[in-house]
């Protein structure tokens, strides 16, 4: 064994360890700013009231399992915001594809979400940060 080998080994270990260690705790500032899971749950509850009152989209939600929808959407937003939740509902694209959601409906839902956040006192900047992450789901929801 040449003397170089141990050094090489140490070097490799150091480099790979550097890649693996401090897997920085996931950034959950958005989750915290939204008021953690209970804050998000309040927003989703308010959103449900707004949906029911909105003639542009309430047809789509007829016969909804409210409890399951509330839990799943709350988990999804929580996860998206960097919180300690795991979404356990159905996959976005197949679930929404059969509804053939229009832009009008998508806009209506976004509007209701913004209003729901506003009514829960979520600051403009925090709303914007959540929206920035949510719009990535647009192609799946509209099945584009």
């Amino acid at each position: 064994m040449t003397p170089i080998r141990p050094w090489l080994l140490i070097l490799i270990l150091a480099v790979t360890a550097g890649c693996q260690t401090p897997v920085a705790a996931p950034d959950d500032t958005l989750y915290q700013d939204l008021g953690a899971r209970s804050g998000i749950a309040d927003v989703v509850e308010e959103l449900l009231y707004l949906i029911v009152d909105d003639d542009r989209i309430n047809r789509q939600f007829r016969g909804l399992d409210v409890v399951s929808f509330h839990r799943h959407l709350t988990d999804q937003l929580c996860q998206l915001a960097g919180g300690p939740c795991t979404y356990s509902g159905r996959a976005m694209r197949p679930l929404h594809a059969e509804m053939a959601i229009t832009d009008t409906e998508f806009n209506a839902l976004t509007e209701n979400l913004v209003l729901a956040m506003e009514r829960n006192g979520i600051a403009t900047g925090v709303q914007n940060r959540l929206l920035a992450r949510l719009i990535a789901l647009y192609p799946e929801v509209r099945n584009l």
Binding site: R56, T102, D103, T104, F106, N107, A108, T110, E111, V114, T124, G125, V126, N128, R129, L131, A132, I135, Y138
Partner: protein
Amino acid sequence: MTAFRLVLACLTLLLSTAGQASPGSRLWATGGVTTIDGSAGGGLVPWALLSGYASDREWGGTLALSRLESDDYSLDVAAASFNWRNRLELSIGRQTLDLDSLVFALKEDFGLEQDQLRQDIVGAKLRLWGDVLYSPLGQWSLGLQHKRNRTFLVPEAIGARDDQGTDVYLSASKLLFAAVLDRNLLLNATVRATRANQGGLLGFGGDRNNDHELMAEASVGVFLNRHWLVGLEYRQKPDNLTFADEQDWWDLFLAWVPDRRLAVTAAWVDLGDIAGLQHQQGAYVSLQVSF
């Protein structure tokens, strides 16, 4: 001023019947406001956004009255637009430029008795692709503005070749969520083919150039929240007339959108030299109602 009065009457009527059906489903302020050419955009620059709030299953439109007062001129604009399914925007606008201080010079130097320049503009804008909020590459639209002078004496006297012309433009707009201090940032870029002098108020074409040229226009805005948009606009312009040097336009604007029905825009505008009168700067105010 009959167009102005007509738009004012309809606008008042619309405002007084407010509170009924909502103008459309697109999010607040995503129809921009009404430009001086009647197309949706900022004050001076058209954006790729289509007017009002109609989304893909809706129709709607806007009415707007605007006034710009520079050191030596004042411009009034009455405009109306119609939006079909957020796909096609049709607009009409009438501009009236009061020559104020130029009236004497015109009489002395040219023997012209004219105290106003007037122009009508018919516009169409087609959304080609994308959505300003949801598409990563933003929204793209192709537009045209056909402009006709209703008073051609003055433009002709200073060397304009035609009393009508058509601008064609391509615009891209994109909203970036939470981009500046967690505020949403609106970016717009427009390329326009035009031979209009001072947007057409001084006719079309001239001795220096008589062809369509490509001009770059841009604006940047920040949404302080969903009711307030503050921003900057730039519009490059041709310089076709030896008699009347022309500069690019700039403005700094603040738009207030209390709800979808109403938008109020105020701006500080720098128009450069106009028909020999130098450094025209001033204030711009615009009132828009959506239906």
